[in-house]
Symmetry: D2
């Protein structure tokens, strides 16, 4: 059986990546492809890498155009998805790649986004404890942010196993520039970003912090507080997260390693690397895979976990397709690859 | 029906790319994976992006290990493939990703490689006139070089249509560093190549020149002479070729464009872009696709063709798999993607 | 004696590079720093690398603000410099980093720029035969384009020595993205340009072609025709030019090499590399140096010259400062470096 | 008065950067240039960016060759400098760019380097409290490591002012690949590092940790413990450090900012950026400048400081020249630039 899927926001990076994956998906037929200001253009003009879809014309992003598909992907700016979703049939699987439906706490949403909270949908990170069951049969799914995906995969096993102190988690992530989107901003032109690194949004104000604290808190069963610093790296894709947390008294390396290995032993898309091998973002480029390694810095009393994902694949569109597969009862790995493109 | 395939040279870039493609190929089961000095290592140590094959152990590259497969891929240094191929059954499909069996002229081989010519095998570039038929049912195939693939796809239509002068073709290509292989050489370390460009092997001595002249000459029906300058670009993958030839008297843009469009109208992996759109190597990253654009510089009396491929995919491993598909009677596109990974 | 210098267009890349060089120039005091839409901002906001000038406030680009300096640098859009220059004293040294005053042929200007020709000023490439004398004492100087600088340095010695055929010169250049300026355009954001190459403006229409043909024609003493293809490389700075021309009958490598070596034997900023060493753009990063190498492809009957410059230094601001030094009677190398920044 | 300087290790990155700076230094004449396995080569073969020194021949690194200079720079592997220094006159200024003489605690040296401690020399980071006075007139100087330079500049003001808790400092740094040296290692070739990030040496074992703890402890007047994770970024030069420490109870942003601004108010090479502007490694490329910004994450109770330096300039050779200037009584900024090369 083939399902039909519509993709909105198709001129952006998330939309382009969704189309790339769906074009190779054995159970999906791509229906409407929509955009806002780029409606009327061909996809070939906007996403020249999608050769087989080059002649498709982008339609307007309206409920009418999106209606009538089995699955609708929303890759829209903040605040735009709730209104459209409300006009789509409850039986349609709506997958929101934006932030609107990720947070459970309306106050956190309002603090960081400054608008009314749209509600909470099942959270599309099946590797977190209990989440896969929530996604089975769901008809509304919120795709996690790319930074939260990398941080939650890095630290959730330790919190779920009760090995980590819930306060004073410190995270520094380096992201490729595609995480900043496709809009042409002066600080993002190639001449400015190639060959250099810089931080941004430092100091607790990053919008992804509450999403990280929410997910880790659910795993821990108690509130978790976290300091997060994102940095911009001179690469188009990939996130390398360095996540550290203090371990509880008496916890040692063997316990830590066992907890992480157990958590991901049966996961198709997450791998704890053999000891001595550290993850590289290039090893997951274009794939839905996440690779992790952990160390115990007994000098500092901290576990240090390195995780890598492709921000556009496992961090956005791949995570969305994986969740779709679960919701529709398909093979969870359909249309997704485990191998990265390297070198 | 599933075919078994062995891959030698699995620790290098060509071998790694072959394994990446074969792991996703619906009709192939990967058998022996072999290497030379790295035999005994796991693939995960050497090709960390091939997550699903990480625990596979590399065997020695011997005829005994390679025997008993339906297909054997040889990704070996120059001069090593003939001896091994001779010890494999004539019914085994042997695909040589190296240079040994590409040239028809033994003298050209000996001039550029300094050793005895190993013989000529069917040439795995099905888009050239007549070549697809040669590959159907073949049991020995020579995979074209990456630079020749980009140059032949760029210019063959014009020569086949009799529109171009056969002398004084001028080609300048920019290649990603993976074309130089995985061996650690001082000039290839990241600090040296990032952020800069340089030429290499300039002045007619490049080993790929006779292969280009051979292919264009076959298309033209007369000898073609060519000046080729390769340059090294600060990117891991991709070739951008700028190929120019003088047009015959009276030939104009419309004729040129019609010839190129006709040549590739039915090709699944080659596309002449719409007018006004120029190809970018990123649009074909990881894919088996080639994209072209052409201009007629009437001031200079030259056609200028830009072509882009991924040197490891269409330029090596993808071309090999495409040829394998034809030889085995499979769908020519099986296991290969048309979409690139972008951005 | 110290001269005062004003820099207009200070928020762009050419303006920023001029300020970087002038801040280290022993004989120059920086006066007014001006911009258009960014007037009122501090330089630190716009050019964060110019730490010692961070608190300087940009003024409006008007004749009044620019007046009263010994030297005025114009780094303005096409068509804007003539009007301002006309309002500056004839005794002021006005150096135009834009294109307006480079071409001698009004018809060529009008064809490529579509506006009235502003006139011709002495051409600031002192390494061309006869040009240094024109610059001594000049009070109006046109700075060459970055591509023409790389092409003229590459080929002028052969034309001046009468060794090259004047028709059918073929040039392919790869430029860093700073050559495209600082304006945020969709195709120039880091995600699009990192890791890939693409051509642009192909087919004879490039605005720099007449400037190249003019300079080579002056060297040759007869008209030269040229096909030029620029490509965009994933690096912020640098131009690698591959320039080829057919040699006249009977000319061989020894004659070619002797001509190039003689042409640059006494030049402080141009070096023909020892045989066997090829130039790399990184070797001239941030410097006013150009490095060349040449080969004779006797198979094709062409000389192939590779040249590298930093497009913003020798290709723009460094060439401007070098010309200023000559015009003011200073040491030609004052304020300029010969060493590149590498790796 | 001109001083003569010898540079050993001239074929490596530190040696090359020393020569680049010394070639532009108004008070220094470059004497012997030495290497180990590359002795006998010209500098042009090994450091093609040092155009004005291209014909200089590298000599053997022996005390005899290095003797007779006013200044000797040692850029040698660990453990090699003590023996050579012992054979140079006590009146010669010997500046060790290696690690041998940085640590005060022999036990820490032996733990991380596994050899006998060579002794402690004045530490060449004049911006640390009290250090400039130690360098005046010194004849032996240990150049700090590049990571420690970035971390000490980031955090010392807060510890010196008594605002930070001495335990649980967490630091994550991203370095360009030149920090890993010029030796060709498989993991460092361009194809592997371009377009990706990876951590290395994670878990407390990094050799630079004791040097960081030593410097911060001296500033704090009590022991400081620190967790350090270095990562490798796809760029040739630059370090971005994200350094976080818990603030003492009652300390707020205003106090923090005042402490940092006061510490660097008179420093020629360190700048706390205006509020709202974050540092970028490209803004200090090739310069001896360091740029900082700080934020107070009151949610986490941590100060987060971002610092950028060029690892080869301020982090190695520039710091060495700055210390030399102080030791010889020259202008501290002689031969060094404050402006970075950007874009």
């Amino acid at each position: 059986m083939t399902f039909t899927a519509a993709v909105s926001g198709a001129s952006g990076y998330a939309g382009g990546e969704l189309l790339r994956l769906l074009a190779n998906h054995p159970d999906i037929e791509i229906g409407a492809i929509t955009a806002h200001s780029n409606a009327g253009s061909t996809l070939g003009e906007l996403q020249p890498h999608l050769h087989s879809l080059a002649d498709r014309v982008l339609q307007d992003t309206t409920p009418e155009v999106l209606a009538g598909h089995d699955v609708v992907f929303l890759a829209l700016p903040h605040g735009a998805s709730a209104e459209i979703a409300a006009q789509l049939s409850p039986g349609t699987l709506v997958i929101d790649a934006g932030a609107d439906h990720r947070l459970q706490d309306p106050a956190a949403w309002e603090k960081f986004y400054g608008s009314a909270h749209a509600g909470t949908w099942p959270y599309g990170l099946p590797e977190l404890p209990g989440h896969r069951a929530d996604l089975a049969g769901a008809r509304r799914i919120a795709v996690p942010g790319c930074y939260p995906t990398s941080v939650l995969l890095a630290l959730a096993p330790g919190f779920a196993a009760g090995l980590l102190e819930p306060d004073d988690v410190v995270v520094v992530s380096a992201s490729g520039t595609s995480g900043a989107g496709k809009a042409a901003k002066p600080g993002l032109i190639g001449s400015e970003v190639m060959g250099g690194m810089s931080p941004y949004g430092v100091g607790g104000g990053h919008r992804h912090t509450p999403e990280m604290e929410q997910g880790l808190g659910l795993a821990a069963g108690e509130p978790v507080s976290l300091s997060f610093t994102p940095t911009l790296a001179p690469m188009a894709r990939g996130i390398l997260t360095t996540a550290t947390a203090r371990v509880k008294p008496g916890v040692g390396y063997a316990q830590l390693r066992a907890a992480w290995e157990a958590a991901y032993a049966d996961e198709p898309f997450v791998r704890v690397l053999p000891e001595g091998q550290w993850p590289a973002t290039k090893s997951v480029l274009g794939s839905n895979h996440a690779a992790l390694q952990l160390a115990f810095d007994d000098h500092a009393g901290r576990v240090i976990v390195s995780s890598v994902i492709d921000n556009l694949t496992k961090g956005t569109a791949g995570g969305a397709v994986q969740s779709m597969n679960i919701a529709l009862g398909l093979d969870e790995t359909a249309g997704l690859t485990i191998q990265g493109i390297a070198p």
